[in-house]
Amino acid sequence: MRVEQPAIFVVDDDSSARDGIEDLLQSVGLRVMTFSSPQAFLESERPDAPGCIILDVRLPNTSGLEFQKALIGAGIQLPVIFVTGHGDIAMSVTAMKSGAIEFLTKPFHEQSLLDAINSGVEKDRQRRRELRVVSELRQRFESLTPRERDVFALVITGRPNKQLALELGLSEMTIKVHRSQITKKMRANSIVELVRFADRLGIFAKEPWPSKPKN
């Protein structure tokens, strides 16, 4: 697979720190975009490439932590590396808990920053790969007819065709046809793979047995 050139976004209101990071990252050959405010970042045109955000914890009018939440809310799932001029333990704990990759205090060692960026970009690359796979699977799933989707949810429970036929009021033959259609459309090689696909799509198997009749 083609390796996309990653993009690193720096959001820091302090020009010294911002320019310094930009210079450093450019000197190691990374593509960098800098922003002086969260607003500028959100309004910008960003390349569709794996990357990560280097975010100052304290930003004008909002905190980096709040901005991180806003990012998640806006569907931007870039990994976040926090930087701060304060050595604030409580804040670093909160940041790490909310999924930050690294929390660096200014001035930082270049190697820790570069390492954090590497792991951030790698994480994002994986996430994007996963996203592509899932969206491909979703497309395949969408090509199923409503009936086939019903059968799909039952097939992955592992119950025999006869029972499924009984449950859906169809003939065993019809179930078999549906089943082969599903496997073909989903491009699965085995029932096990089908189950894995279902897992990734978040489709849950129907209850293996009808719920107990009430007494």
Binding site: D14, A17, G20, G85
Partner: protein
């Protein structure tokens, strides 16, 4: 500083002791010359001398009047005529005048010295307050230093990489160096700003640009403001107002009020943590500086006491900040007062005379 305070406190007593000794010596001379002090002259004289040494301005003026009356009553006609042959009375008059002169000059000297000492103490106290406040702002100052340092370290690393490239990228390396110099200058400025607040030098009044001076104070406290997620509203529209003040002390008062404001907002749960820092000229050739917060406000019961020394509402406060600030403002011919901020919080304002070139 405690040592200085003590020597200041003892000095007037020495002068007073000297005055009392002079008085005793003159009365001894008087007695040995055979004066009769029973007519009350001696006792009046003694009372006047002692009171003028111990008293303040009002007492001294009052007593000078008494002394003048005494002189008129005992030495001038019609009761006593100096040209009547009363040698004793002429001697007594001389003793009276000599004693008065010595005592008065000593009293003036003592008062002048203690005033100088008081000014010095006030300056020391002001500096002490500044240093204490800077101590509270350590985190903020560190943050202000860490920003340019972060840039400096990153740019240095970048510069080395540009140079190690094959071939070396001289253009980029020199751009990194420009940034390094810029950041180093910035760090130096932060250090200078802090140093000027901590430096021990006599107060000196100059024309101070209000907007600039306030801007610097806001910069020193910026990290604290951001840390507590406070919105700081800087409302100084006029950028050429000058006040006639000691720059450092002017900044100290502003710094004190802003730090108090931050303290007041620190524990406010609401999302609206706002600190307004403003300055505007009024009709009386003064400038009014306002620092208003949306904190819990001042308890009306303690409104009268907040400017007293050692009054504090903070668990670890010393209660010197506002007392020092008020004494600084008053020494500049201004006023410092507090009121309730509408709709909530506290508002501190002070005036200072505008400088007219």
């Amino acid at each position: 500083m405690i040592k200085e305070l003590r020597s200041w406190a003892w000095f007037p007593f020495a002068v007073r002791a000297l005055g009392a000794a002079t008085l005793l010596i003159f009365s001894y001379i008087g007695v040995s010359l055979g004066f009769d002090f029973d007519d009350g002259r001696f006792w009046l004289l003694a009372a006047v001398v002692i009171a003028s040494l111990l008293g303040d301005y009002v007492t001294s003026i009052g007593l000078s009047l008494v002394a003048a009356g005494c002189l008129a009553f005992f030495f001038a006609p019609p009761k006593f005529s100096l040209w009547v042959e009363q040698e004793e009375d002429i001697l007594a008059l001389i003793v009276f005048l000599a004693t008065s002169m010595v005592v008065t000059s000593l009293a003036v000297k003592s008062r002048r010295t203690s005033e100088e000492e008081l000014l010095q103490t006030r300056a020391d106290l002001a500096r002490f307050g500044r240093v204490a406040m800077l101590g509270e702002l350590t985190a903020s100052v560190a943050h202000e230093l860490n920003q340019p340092l972060a840039g400096l370290v990153s740019s240095s690393n970048a510069c080395r990489r540009w140079l190690l490239n094959q071939p070396p990228n001289i253009d980029r390396a020199s751009r990194s160096l420009d940034r390094i110099i810029r950041d180093a200058d910035r760090a130096t400025m932060v250090v200078e700003r802090v140093q000027s607040m901590a430096k021990n030098r006599p107060p000196q009044k100059i024309a101070v640009n209000v907007r600039e001076a306030l801007r610097e104070v806001v910069l020193i406290t910026r990290a604290e403001v951001e840390r507590h997620q406070i919105t700081l509203d800087f409302k100084v529209v006029d950028d050429v107002i000058l006040v006639w003040a000691d720059r450092v002390q002017f900044q100290q008062v502003c710094l004190n009020l802003i730090v108090n404001g931050i303290e007041a907002l620190k524990n406010v749960v609401s999302n609206r943590r706002t600190l307004v820092v403003g300055a505007e000229r009024d009709a009386h050739s003064h400038i009014t500086v306002t620092v208003a917060d949306t904190g819990a406000g001042i308890d009306p019961k303690t409104l009268g006491e907040i400017f007293n020394a050692f009054f504090t509402s903070k668990p670890d406060g010393m209660g010197m900040g506002l007392a020092i600030s008020r004494s600084i403002v008053e020494a500049h011919g201004g006023r410092l007062w507090a009121s309730a901020n509408v709709p909530q919080g506290a508002k501190f304002q002070f005036t200072m005379p505008i400088y007219r070139g």
